[in-house]
Amino acid sequence: MTDRPTVWEEMPKINRDLLSPLQTTTWTYYLWVGVLSCFVAAGAGAWTYQIQTGIGQTDLHHPIFWGSYIASFVFWIGVSHSGTFISGVLRLTNAEWRRPVTRMAELMTVVALLVTTLFVFYHLGRVWRFYYLIPYPNQRELWPNFRSPLMWDATAIFTYATASTIYIYLPLIPDFALARDRIQGWRKTVYGWLAIGWHGSQAQWRTLEMAIRIITPLIVMVMISVHSIVGFDFSMALVPAWHSTIFAPYFVVGAVHSGLGMVVIGLYTLRRVYRLHEYVRTEHFEKLGKLLLVTTLLLAYMYFAEQLTVWYGQVPDHMAVQNSLLYGAYAVPFWFMVSCIYIIPLVTLVWPRFRQWPVGLMMIGLIINLGMYIERMLIIVPPLARPRLSFQWDEYFPSLIEFAILVGTLALALLLYSLAVKFVPVISIWEEKLGKKHAQEH
């Protein structure tokens, strides 16, 4: 225990480093926020136009009733799984290396969930009647239909959003208290409210740790249920190639796959922008790379099992869909998707040297997310485009308005995240300190 004082000497430096994004802002940040705001405004304009003129501004048509909005909905829910999976599962398993990763991943969850909800509204034909979906006493004496998987979905997402807000808030309390003590001006008051009287007593720490220990397993279960239910939205339908038992677990793994990819991108970017090299080390990228390899294999295994079953069965309804993917109208995006989410990650991530290369991992994260987005589209569109009555077959490609809304929403997600980075420390300060202390003791 001779080197014990050095740990304590490090603490002010940690405080300084991790609070600095909250205290100093460069002109590039303002430029970045300005550019994003322009994109968001364009997206909002496109949405307004769509509401005014009709949902026909999309390329959706009979019989393809669902398209890019639902695909994006599924995709963003997937991204939201990053936070919970990384921080929840790693907290449960007591993985020490989680410490610098959890906060930025949890932040991703909250932002992604907000964005996800938007897609439900983009999609509705009469969005001004959205309140029909809410169960509340009304003069019409009508309730929503809880037999509909969409209502299960709404319930699950509401639960998930509430739970993950609590989940990110709890470990934030000590950090808010720190910010309250270090930052002056009006923000001091805000942090003061948010810190709800935290002063770091033994009793408070015990309560906090207990609360985190209770909510962690709960949120992991909610996370699994949420994406299972998103899978149910499809598998409960009679549509050929949707009506499959593998959808729930496949969606969960797929969500974690893209979520992990997003965490790698976020980790890389934040480390670079805020020079967090001391906290986010190559070791973290390597561990995330291993996790990505696991999800790649797991997802590929499930996908193969599903497609092989369909192919061997040769049921005409299902084969119409599979043929359109393998060598039909959707062959190009299909094979592009297969290389993005299975082949490229697999051949790169198996190399230990590659996993220690942060830039490479960041690129793999990008490729996986691009691939997963296409994968969501391919889950939704081809089965709808190949209904059982072949007279009705058709194709679909998103319209310009749809692209404007999608890009605007992506910009909104980045904007929200960028703003959040200026408000909460991207690395959990007290957990980082605790990690340092543990490392010393062992």
Partner: protein
């Protein structure tokens, strides 16, 4: 604080009533017809004037000719009776303001409601006591359903929605 709350309430209230047809100003009829006089004092049966109620979805607004069957032989004692005479002479219909209107997605028929034994006052109130007819209280779905429930009438959506 109270000022803020007050102005907010006013703002919300203004927003709420914009475009609503329920403003009392809009309910001013071109001729001040009194149901109290006709249905009350004179005790004329509702269906003498609203003659299609038992045979069709709409009850019908009486034609000028129907008004004239009585008013022909009456002297013009009030300004409104004079107005009626002018409309008649100029062969113009009276532009009555419609007070009871159901949305396009509702199927309602006076015929079947009267056939089921309901009286006019069940839904329209005691009109024979009103000198100027106000807009009916509410024709919202919950209001209809309550009565359907009490009388054991159909709850099927397609009974009333088309």
């Amino acid at each position: 604080m109270a000022l803020l709350a007050g102005s907010m309430a006013m703002g919300v209230g203004a927003l709420y009533s914009i475009g609503s047809a329920d403003l009392p100003v809009q309910d001013q009829q071109p001729v001040r017809f009194s149901h109290r006089q006709h249905a009350g004092t004179l005790n004329i049966h509702c269906q003498f004037c609203h003659r299609y109620a038992t045979q069709s979805p709409v009850a019908g607004v009486p034609s000028m000719a129907l008004c004239q069957t009585c008013h022909e032989s009456l002297s013009e004692t009030t300004p409104d009776m004079k107005m009626l005479r002018i409309y008649w002479k100029e062969k113009r219909p009276i532009p009555w303001v419609r007070l009871q209107r159901l949305p396009d997605h509702v199927y309602f028929t006076h015929e079947m409601h009267l056939f089921a034994g309901l009286s006019c006052t069940s839904c329209h109130g005691n009109v024979s006591g009103m000198s100027s007819t106000p807009r009916a209280p509410t024709y919202e779905m919950g209001w209809c359903l309550t009565c359907h429930e009490q009388r054991g009438a159909s709850h099927d959506c397609w009974t009333c929605h088309k």
